[in-house]
């Protein structure tokens, strides 16, 4: 299994935020959380000024910590390599949870 697939499987199994009710909620979460997880994994401190950012951080911090425990290959990656993996993972999660999802409710305008 590739590193990308390994991380996608981990996120699919562990993260409820990718499955929020509508496409725009899922996109916001994916775009908010995965870049923060990258920052945390590379030792940076993400911005946490708004309530939404603090919520993304709560999810991203846990994701980063649990991935460090479960995906030992993360430790050997250089920053650019990790950036590539996270980019590919983000695309793949967007494909599964948003773009190619068979969930017929994702684009209903209201909740």
């Amino acid at each position: 299994m590739s590193q990308t697939d390994d991380m996608v499987t981990f996120i699919q199994e562990h993260c409820l935020w990718q499955f929020h009710s509508r496409a725009w909620d899922r996109e916001s979460n994916i775009n908010g959380i995965l870049p923060m997880a990258f920052q945390i994994l590379t030792g940076e401190t993400p911005k946490q000024e708004t309530p939404d950012e603090r919520c993304y951080f709560a999810n991203a911090n846990r994701l980063a910590a649990e991935m460090k425990d479960d995906l030992p290959w993360l430790e050997g990656l250089r920053k650019e390599e990790l950036a590539d993996v996270i980019d590919r993972v983000k695309d793949k999660i967007e494909d599964i949870a948003v773009k190619h999802s068979l969930n017929g409710e994702l684009n209903q305008p209201g909740y």
Partner: protein
């Protein structure tokens, strides 16, 4: 072909779109069961009605509220004492049932006068209670009664009372899920923002989608107290009507049951900018993850770690004892929807069990995306399963224990397969660390009970022991 047409469904081939068996390398962009759709005529569905979703699941939990069911008395009786959600208000919500007791003459001549009379009668009989929810039912919706007009008239006459009207008759949707939706949306639009809560902590949350089944909320409340977190509204376990009117002041919505109450969390985000954080409150690993996320949001990580250490020291040896004995046992989960994805990995991680079949009565495709992502390859995933399908699935996967409701539970008991109440629990609470030990104990006792072997003996022949 991962979508599966069971043999019993030969005459209703549409059922194939509702049953999936997961295979290696697949994801939910390839196969996703059809769900939240009308039950196919000819199947013996186990679903509840839309009214039931509003009243039995959410509204009826409130501990200080008269639940006036505007319809025939059966609608009230059948949604009264069938769910065990206690409260610290002397279990007011479990003791009484209220109905306008609509009869044929009311169907012919209208039932609004009867409703008004019943409202006054209930408030007069319980002078300390000032809050009420009125539910329409199939019959009173069909005759065109206007319960909102009646409620307004009563509130004009008695300004000290407040009444919320849920217009969700049983036929309004395909399952109880519609009732969740109607109550959520009406509550946020009509009641939230009317009461200003007293803020006593720098950390405030709404805990959304927990109904205090056998005391789940009481366990969680211990955690919030230790963390110094003020729960403005527990939607709706052990909550009051007015607490749920003050949801708009919380800093964070923590969501457990996204199916029954994700709607109000989404609307609170949209209207008031309160973010939504979904967690799983069942299971050791999940509970710790959820608490740590809340700790990260508020910056109280030290307190959270101390709480987790304390709880694990107390309960981990017990769950490990059961894990040793439950390892490899097979489990089926045939409940409403969210518990499939809340439990499938939790019982595997914390109890060593294997979940082999899951059926949802009212889950949407979102729920199937979650459970298929988390669940096993080879497991069977069913939407709106019916009786014959359950029998056939049993011959395919041979579970050691089945988590389901009393209706299906009685069926499987006759096959001498242990069942545990997956809706209202056997000996709960099941949430949190302590709760998951209770759940493991119920599973262990169910599987190891000598009754199953005894029940299989033919006592009509030979000597009785």
């Amino acid at each position: 072909m991962p979508m599966k047409l069971l043999e019993c469904d030969t005459l209703i081939p549409e059922r194939e779109r509702h049953i999936y068996i997961k295979e290696a390398g697949e994801d939910t962009t390839q196969f996703l069961p059809v769900s939240d759709s009308a039950t196919i005529p000819g199947t013996l569905s186990e679903r509840g009605c839309a009214f039931c979703g509003a009243k039995l699941v959410i509204g009826g939990v409130l501990k200080d509220t008269i639940q006036m069911i505007h319809g025939p008395v059966g609608c009230a009786y059948d949604t009264w004492h069938t769910k065990r959600y206690p409260s610290d208000a002397d279990n007011f919500q479990l003791k009484y049932v209220w109905s306008t007791n609509v009869k044929e003459k009311n169907v012919v001549f209208g039932a609004e006068k009867l409703l008004k009379k019943s409202i006054f009668e209930a408030f007069d009989a319980m002078p300390n209670i000032k809050r009420m929810i009125i539910y329409t039912t199939c019959s009173t919706a069909l005759i065109g009664d206007d319960p909102k007009a009646v409620a307004r008239a009563v509130m004009d006459e008695r300004p000290e009372v407040d009444i919320f009207v849920v217009e969700c008759p049983g036929f309004a949707g395909v399952s109880q899920s519609k009732g969740h939706h109607v109550l959520n949306m009406a509550w946020i639009h009509e009641k939230v923002g009317q009461v200003e809560p007293e803020i006593t902590s720098p950390y405030t949350i709404n805990f959304i989608g927990d109904y205090n089944i056998q005391g789940d909320s009481f366990i969680l409340h211990q955690y919030w107290e230790k963390l110094g977190i003020q729960v403005l509204s527990h939607f709706t376990g052990n909550a009051t009507y007015d607490e749920c009117r003050g949801m708009h002041r919380a800093q964070l919505n923590v969501v457990n049951c996204a199916r029954s109450a994700g709607y109000i969390a989404n609307e609170l985000h949209k209207a008031y900018g309160i973010p939504r954080l979904d967690i799983d409150s069942w299971g050791f690993s999940y509970m710790s993850t959820g608490l740590r996320k809340i700790g990260d949001f508020f910056g109280i990580q030290d307190k959270v770690e101390a709480l987790i250490a304390e709880e694990e020291a107390k309960w981990k040896p017990q769950i490990d004892w059961y894990k040793e004995r439950l390892k490899g046992k097979k489990m089926a989960i045939w409940t409403g929807g969210p518990r499939l994805w809340h439990w499938t990995k939790a019982v595997e991680d914390d109890m060593g069990m294997e979940v082999v079949a899951m059926s949802s009565k009212f889950g949407h495709q979102e729920d199937f995306e979650k459970v298929i992502a988390r669940g096993n390859e080879g497991a069977i995933y069913i939407d709106d399963g019916n009786e014959l399908e359950f029998f056939e699935v049993l011959t395919m996967v041979h579970p050691d224990v089945i988590f389901t409701g009393p209706r299906v539970g009685e069926l499987v008991k006759k096959l001498h397969i242990p069942y545990v109440n997956g809706h209202a629990y056997h000996n709960g609470p099941y949430m949190g660390y302590e709760g998951f030990v209770n759940m493991a104990r119920d599973i262990y006792n169910a599987i190891n009970s000598p009754l199953w072997a005894l029940a299989g003996q033919n006592i009509q022949e030979g000597e009785l022991l």
